[in-house]
Symmetry: C2
Subunit: 430 residues, 2 copies
Amino acid sequence: MKVLGVVVEYNPFHNGHLHHLREAKTLINPDYTIAVMSGNFVQRGEPAILDKFSRAEVAVNMGVDIVFELPFVYCIQDASGFAMGSIGVLERTNVVTDIVFGSESSNLEVLDKISNILYEQPKTFKKLLNKHLKKGLSFPNARKFALVEYLESSNYEPNVIDILEQSNDILGLEYLNALKLYDSKIIPHTIQRIKAEYNQKEFTGEISSATAIRNLIEKNEMNKVRQGVPSLSYEVLRREIEKGKAPIMFEDMRDMILGKLRMMKKEELIQIDGVKEGLETRYSKFSKISSNLTELVNHVKTKRFTLTRVKRTLLKIFFDLKERDVKLYNNHGPQYLRVLAFTEKGQELLGKMKDLSAYPIITTPSTYRKIYNRLNDNLLSSKKRYQSIPEIYLNQIEYDFLASNIYTLLFKNRDLSSYEPDKKQRVIML
Amino acid sequence: MKVLGVVVEYNPFHNGHLHHLREAKTLINPDYTIAVMSGNFVQRGEPAILDKFSRAEVAVNMGVDIVFELPFVYCIQDASGFAMGSIGVLERTNVVTDIVFGSESSNLEVLDKISNILYEQPKTFKKLLNKHLKKGLSFPNARKFALVEYLESSNYEPNVIDILEQSNDILGLEYLNALKLYDSKIIPHTIQRIKAEYNQKEFTGEISSATAIRNLIEKNEMNKVRQGVPSLSYEVLRREIEKGKAPIMFEDMRDMILGKLRMMKKEELIQIDGVKEGLETRYSKFSKISSNLTELVNHVKTKRFTLTRVKRTLLKIFFDLKERDVKLYNNHGPQYLRVLAFTEKGQELLGKMKDLSAYPIITTPSTYRKIYNRLNDNLLSSKKRYQSIPEIYLNQIEYDFLASNIYTLLFKNRDLSSYEPDKKQRVIML
């Protein structure tokens, strides 16, 4: 049995995503395809433009058999934490045989070589990394130069610079690293992606970036959007916009985030994951003299702290994601497998997973407390023991609910802010 | 020298306020009149419809010589805490000789008799109070019945029930009690107010309640508003509305408050002043299933916890006003005298106060840190020692700044959310 795993955000699902999904399937020819998808907040440090249920609904219609939710605590982390979460979910299904990810270099040999260095952290490399960090470089840049110098000294000279400047390659490296950390047997594959595609702002017709499409949605140029996304994705978008549930933009969080930040003391800020080296002063000071979030992040960002990092950290501040907790989450990985949507075929696979996975598979989130009690009793099944750590399980899943309850406050139709989606919305079956 | 002190909110300043101010002056015939006024948040548990600087500006134009800001931590407390703050400011100017407050009964003898019981807390009274509290009555109601029974048993039978059901009388009692607690020499006086005037919702022409006028402002019926307020008050209102700084309504805090509340754990809620006896569960639960603040407060309120109390407590939750801190503030009273506006005549009096008061008089808030350092050194003047407790001083004034920085986020003109009014706005001089 071959099971293909992919890591996605589908924010929103566009023609490029469909293209990549099909390519991946052609490459692997899997019996089943499963995706782990960010929930209501995404890795660029923003709320998703469309809620997780709608995005999962599109995914199962487009050829994914099961959509798992990436626990919130991983969604808004840097590439490394994001990979620990997403690869963790795929690994812990215990059925995935292959993962495919986009890569600008599409050079798995080199990526693997580099990820080995990151995994093994040889002393010489660590010294070089610290040298560059001390110069005030951002972590990605310091790492890039350290790797180049390290590989040069070992007479191995691939085009590392290029690889470490490309967003898919960087993420790919972290996936490979995470696979090693989980001691996973999953086989990684790459498919070619064109450089800078991910962040391209202009609409370029049928194949446009998610960024370009979100910009069109925001400007309500729905006729152009229609060209860039599969028709079902378009229909779901239209439907959710009509309901007043989309589009959700970063700036919709203005009052919440500025309101919270203006109240926070530096001693509190400094406990948040990613707030260090004076960032607490920048967040605190600039929150008071910024009219909106765009102004704020532009004030706070520096050469060292990139825009995306500043935005992600802003969400961590709002959601009170402390450094010590994030470390715990990353060390232990995701503690459950939450299903957002599945097809009939996916249902078969879920049946098999129930026997094979060592982690609870959650299709009815309202039972989460029951599962917690069972984890505490360690009596989930007579056949096997579950491996979740009860307290971490509880923290992670309660964060998912929390994130949803905040997300509903962003709906344009405010009457829809009064239901708890994770308690009310059933898993989507196709 | 006679100095009249009044406690006001002027939210907004209307014909009734002008009438009362003139009556009070006729009664006392003072050399100077000073007011202590709520800042950007008021005792009914809402943001003020107009910011504190504009309201202070109107006050000095209408016959007040100096407007002091009631420190934020007292503004959103119940009658007792509000009185400890406002009477504290008047007392600590050390120049006020008389205060006048509105009263439905206008029976100072009876009010004083009752306030003596509250001040002395005789054992029999305390027993009666506890008996009624245990029945599940709200505090004001339990106190009312306990007082009636206590006074009946001592053969003293004024119409206590009436007095304890009238908002001005209730506040008046607390003023009298506070005067005793401060061991004040200020002489209290009452002027007659008509029952229920304060909360009257309908517009009744020239003399209408602040509630009625706020409703008209919200509905943008400015021609009716013009009838109910002095022309200068009207002009300031118009000007601030045109700037996009008014009107500010309770519901404008929806995202901030619901966003914060949905994130809070019960263990955190229970530390907030006024959150007890299961209120933490009500706030937590209903925050998730309410679309807006009006829905929320209607869900949370009970026979025991009145609407106003629920709203005030909501602000305390948002501003993280913990029970232990409020106790400290109420035990020690206001630690400084912050001037929002004064007339030329008021300036004379301020000059005298600088010698007479034992508390720092703040006209330039940006110097607050310097004053803190001087309080710590206790070297404010060679002639006398200041009585402020440095840490409490700092907490109180920083809360004022915080409240202003949150208030600016509510402005319709969002460009105006990026300045810190308490640092930028100069004291108003007429």
